[in-house]
Subunit: 307 residues, 4 copies
């Protein structure tokens, strides 16, 4: 590798320096702020070139290299970038967040300090209905009249819970025990530090349409307001390959080929062999793999051969 | 290493087989159960001997080797053992538990299913007072009269919270959103799988007297009812070296030596140089390092030279 | 979740029990053996159902669930399975292997014991030529005449290196230092323990055609001889979705759609806008993204519109 | 916690900025350089104060807090600091280095590029003898006459190995295969990024007197030249508590107490009960735990009661 033993100045990204400490609001009382960072698009290229040996250095080639790395799952160079955020999040949302284990975390301690006196409140028009198809999702909204009653009740129960908490503290109960009936909507704060590879993994799962809306809003702010400024080449590649890309299984590859060649019969045969076209009294039976493939065909703007 | 290419039967530990699936009760409605395990005291010895070459095989030597490994932080052989537990824990406690990142976890989903209808309830005599010295601890109990009022209020707020939750579900609100004001005392369940090295780390932190009592009860059950049966040699060594052991800093080593040789003047001089004996109007100033050392002297049954 | 507090017997997989300890040969003197394991296809379903609540239990539904989990990157249930292998591998290959960090490892110590007296030797017909297109790959073989000379020279240098090692030991040099000039082809042994999720990640990278042949042979044996027996439903899904699947970027989705609808002009336009069709003196310029897409079209059995 | 939403400038440590990129030589041709870093002593305090709530901010109190955190294994705030090094290391040494899994790594690829043409060479006076007591250690040196012969032989075998490598490349053999008989003394390079908590763990194991001298030299440079400049308060505390501290088991605590109170009989009794004083024909039998305790007594400057 090239001999670059010379003294150097610390790499920085002016677009991130410009937003250091800036509060990006999320939900009704949450936020995300960048506290510090290490690395940039350039650091990824630099790390990859240790592996691949010194090479060309034009910006256009850097872009090509980063896209190549991301496309082909060469993930280690992305770990060379690190970011530290200060976040304020409802505990309910934090329960999902903390499941990403490859991060460093220091959370506000309600053993040591009095719990933050703020809860996430849901406006009358924001109560989401249970989704029918997706057992863990929501779709559409409760009508606003009913929503108003729900929101009113929410404030009451949150206030009552806080009063119980305060009464316990007033009675001399330890903070570690007094907190036990606080609602999950209570805000917490944390420093959260993670490398870019694992952050992209977090974003790909939490910006996804199957993620719960609350955490999706945090993920979207982190992605669009922060990562897009910090490592713009990575961000573009990430959107193109991971967020709006598509995966085809072996059988789906064969099916897309058959459909693309206009060979409808072959496509239907293949689907039958895969058990996708079994029929019951009401026509085609429910089949999760077939349904997912039909959604892919829609995105590909191709016709479903068995309809 | 020895040639042990022969066929083998799966290693097992009869004492664990005998409690597989058994429910160990914790708190008012929680539990811990062993679902599966891999390895034993013997597996640690076997792994260590890959590193150290084949050696003697008497049980007494296995014991010596395991104690040597634990004493000298040769941690990798302990990672060769793995255990999978099924646990039921209040969410407040689970928030601490999940901070141990080197475990595999599948938690009951309140997005997908209706939240477990059970909360941890505190009896009248179990409300702990805020500790004065330790800002994150508790000490002693609220008197039972006041405690009764607190317990009554707790049931009321827990019932009210559950009613709000149920009313939301009845109104068609999605489960993922309806749950947002459930109290932290709500029970959750999970499969939790971890290797023995990381489990010992968990136990050393969570069986510690500074850990919150609730999680300490879980840790104690896991340690005393499960690990003690599973890997008894490791368990004994762990208790002796990690749970009831003591660490001395460089300055404390010098102090213990001076005190042990009866050289009180040298000990006081050393403490002064370390800034431990500064005085204010009320005598010796508060000094956390000195206080901790005085506690160590008490455990060593040695006299504090500056008192 | 269902109340399954009853006593249970330890889950096992007869097909794995039948090969426990069996030596699967790899390369000229390497091997892989299963030493122990935890979990099965069923354990994944069980873990997923903690998250999703109790549900149907027919085998066909288990299969559907496992395929759904794998397709949608619900990775945590796969972490509930764990396997421990005993492997014998050339150090050169082990250098790649050990880069997978999420495993537990105990390696034979050449500080403590005399290095294993075996090296991987390359037969006359197995010397691979440097690939021209892929700077880190190989393609084809050196002709056997030249190969014979290379193999002869290899044995000489390996013997000479070992003689130097032995002479150092005979002179009383410490093992930790005597080993420093052993060739990378020297065999080492290790216990290697990993969960199924991370093992699949290892296999997907190391069974890949871009992986070096030596580690690919180990990965293939682990996959086809061990995982296929241990968790057959997972193995089938893994092959279909990850090993023989395909990923399309946003732009590739649009292109496949256009080609599939017979809209060649739109396809060519899209490719042009992406900068894939720039021409130089010798026609189309080299473009890595275009080349990769052309390979995908070949697998889809679709025609390249710009050729 | 305090409201610190204001814009901020990036935290930096002038003492590290002053050595950024500077090459610290290690061994005959190795080095360590700082490429980038995040955090400082102050960042640890900041992270701890998220957990503990806002507090006092004098430097003396920062020092007390950091020492408290390190002493009491509150490790997460130390994870808030991160450092990226560029290192050049013999592969034999790198094999030990890479065993620390909680780091991010990009290593020079000898699949992609021709192997670095440098090997670690041992001078005539530096051949270490096998230790007798410690099977994995060395002690003293081979006499320089014999050493000269060993060093001469080393250069010959290294040259011969390189010639074989070069001949393979000249014959068109792929780089990935040609490298297989390179000696372990061949230098490699890597970017290595790690958080401060895990770096301290690395240093405590690799600066230890039981670590092999080669990696100990790297660890010492990283500690004394880099960490000491970067986070001086942490470094002092680390030396005092972890590098020069001591751990006592429960039985050792009782023994030190008895010895310190002059109660020799009680001490001897305790040691007997622990099985430390069994005698054979040649007097006291070898006992590893007793020997280690005797070494501790020597460090404490206390008398061994059974001698």
């Amino acid at each position: 590798m090239t001999n670059d033993n010379d003294m150097m100045t610390r790499p920085n990204v002016p677009a991130i320096d410009a937003i250091l400490g800036k509060t990006f609001k999320v939900l009704d009382d949450g936020f995300v702020r960048v506290v510090d960072y290490m690395g940039s698009d350039g650091a990824i290229v630099q790390a990859a070139r240790v592996s691949y040996g010194a090479g060309t250095k034009k910006v256009s080639e850097d872009r090509g290299l980063i896209r190549y790395l991301l496309r082909n799952r060469h993930t280690t160079p992305f770990e060379m970038c690190e970011i530290k955020l200060h976040v304020r999040v409802p505990m309910d949302c934090w329960r999902q967040w903390i499941r990403h284990r490859t991060a460093n975390v220091n959370e506000y301690s309600t053993r040591y300090s009095i719990a933050i006196d703020a809860t996430q409140q849901t406006a009358a028009g924001e109560w989401r209905k249970q989704a029918l198809g997706n057992k863990q999702g929501s779709e559409g909204f409760i009508d606003e009249g009913a929503g108003e009653a729900l929101s009113k009740k929410e404030i009451e129960i949150q206030d009552a819970s806080r009063a119980v908490y305060q009464a316990r503290l007033d009675a001399g109960v330890s903070r570690e025990q007094a907190r036990k009936d606080l609602p999950l909507s209570t805000y917490t704060e944390a420093y959260w530090k993670i490398d870019l590879h694992n952050l992209l993994r977090f974003l790909s799962l939490r910006m996804d349409e199957h993620a719960q809306i609350e955490i999706r809003e945090y993920a979207t702010v982190i992605g669009e307001k922060i990562v897009a400024e910090w490592c713009p080449i990575v961000w573009d590649a990430f959107l193109e390959y991971q967020m709006t890309g598509m995966t085809l299984s072996r059988i789906e590859i064969e099916l897309v080929g058959a459909i693309g060649r206009g060979d409808t019969d072959a496509a239907v045969d293949l689907a039958k062999k895969s058990g996708w076209l079994e029929t019951g009294k009401k026509g085609l039976k429910r089949n999760r793999e077939r349904t997912e493939f039909e959604e892919k065909l829609a995105r590909l703007n191709l016709t479903i051969p068995w309809k």
